[in-house]
Symmetry: C2
Subunit: 271 residues, 2 copies
């Protein structure tokens, strides 16, 4: 079992209750990373579902969750032949911190060079341009006093202009692009992708914003099971207004296939 698998473990208590232990290693400042919290929730949802893969997850981030024991409560909303819909709540001391609806279904296993079935309609938008990985760069390690253990769980190699903000030269547009993998040797799976969709620094840093940007709502779709290797994580935004911004993230696998799409609504940080 990898460290990530261990840190996202959900232990079944009964059909609607799972015990989890939120790992301080996924903290950014004083808050646990939202993608990590979704991965924990999804472990419980998938374990309890007759379908294998979380194809749609809509999460409401209500309060800042802290490391330590917590409970995932499940409510089966509907289960049919193709999909199961579950409400999942992450609860600490009787208070919900994350509330989500999750649709599970079955996706095909990844097979290199697999062809669609005869008569099957398929179409994909081209992959956005991304420099080769050799030209991409990590952010400098955070200062120890900034308490960013999350940063050592993942490897992010950025398209250099999108981290210009770090040196005081933001691009002026909400954008952030990087190659992503876990720091430990582990190929991507749906839980790693849950982490990937919320692993970038806020896209608004490239538009000149600073400070913690709390996610209010995040919905992501798992569109295919990923090929082994690096993921590419392309973040962008459409509007910054009235203290709100949106962050779109497209995740491609090492074969260039679109494997996940995410959009979140978040608040601009203060200061």
């Amino acid at each position: 079992m990898t460290k990530f698998d261990d840190a996202t473990q959900a232990i079944k208590v009964d059909d609607t209750t799972y015990d989890v232990c939120l790992d301080a290693g996924y903290t950014i400042g004083t808050a646990l990373n939202g993608g990590y919290l979704m991965a924990v929730l999804l472990r419980a949802v998938v374990d309890a579902s007759p379908h294998d893969h979380p194809v749609a997850t809509s999460a409401q981030f209500l309060r800042v969750a802290r490391p330590g024991p917590a409970t995932v409560r499940l409510e089966r909303i509907r289960s049919g032949r193709t999909t199961t819909v579950t409400r999942a709540s992450l609860v600490q001391d009787g208070t919900p911190f994350v509330e989500a609806f999750v649709t599970t279904a079955n996706l095909r296993p990844y097979e290199p060079g697999a062809e669609p079935e005869p008569g099957e309609l398929t179409w994909s938008a081209p992959a956005p341009p991304m420099p080769p990985i050799e030209e991409c760069r990590p952010l400098p390690a955070p200062r120890p006093e900034s308490n960013m253990p999350f940063n050592s769980q993942v490897e992010l190699l950025f398209d250099p202009p999108t981290i210009g903000w770090y040196k005081g030269t933001p691009t002026g547009r909400p954008e952030m692009r990087a190659y992503f993998r876990l720091a430990e040797p582990q190929d991507p799976d749906p839980f790693v992708i849950a982490l990937a969709v919320d692993a970038l620094p806020p896209v608004v840093f490239s538009a000149g914003a600073r400070g913690w940007a709390p996610t209010v709502e995040l919905t992501w779709y798992l569109r295919a099971l990923p090929a082994p290797g690096w993921l590419t994580v392309i973040g962008s935004g459409s509007l910054i207004a009235e203290g709100w911004f949106d962050e779109n993230v497209e995740v491609r696998d090492s074969a260039g296939r679109l494997v996940a799409q995410s959009r979140q609504l978040a608040r601009l940080g203060r200061g």
Copy 2:
């Protein structure tokens, strides 16, 4: 009261229960339109919320709802200074048909030429290209036997290539672009926008698909209160695979401002 306001009315029974009557006029084939169902749900949510505007709505479409009496059940999840999060369920005969999380907040009233506050960070992606309204065209009226009363509630004037599928010449890409307004004289508001984000024919019709394409999950963000006049509704998709597709819809107001963003995950129709 306009016909739309009347058809989406929610009558308060108590703090967590509203009576509604689902109007057969918003039917497409045998199903009620999903945007109409969201508008009905949102009437109840907004009435019960201390905040005025539904900034984030994540809806799970569980079953095909039929015209007639129904109930909206509300559960207040959290309410703070900036936002309120509510779970809303649309129930017929004790069975949920739509389940949603809705975040309400307060947006600024529309003011022509309004400037951001001093020091406020704002940014907007440019509006996608759209031909002038004089060059756009409606779809031919549906045959009476196809039972499409929804089509007479709204006016949709399409960018002509995006309805080429109707004459057997689809563009080959998932896309659909139109000007939108209610058929009766009524300026857009958040409830009209709920209708607008799911009013286009499925974007996959332009990629060669036909048949009813059931929405599984739809999340939309209200980003600003709209200027009076026509809305522009720009639909696109990123991936059609394994029988699933995504549909992105961007809604702009008559002043060209981005007022809403929507994404849905849906199933390809059969046949």
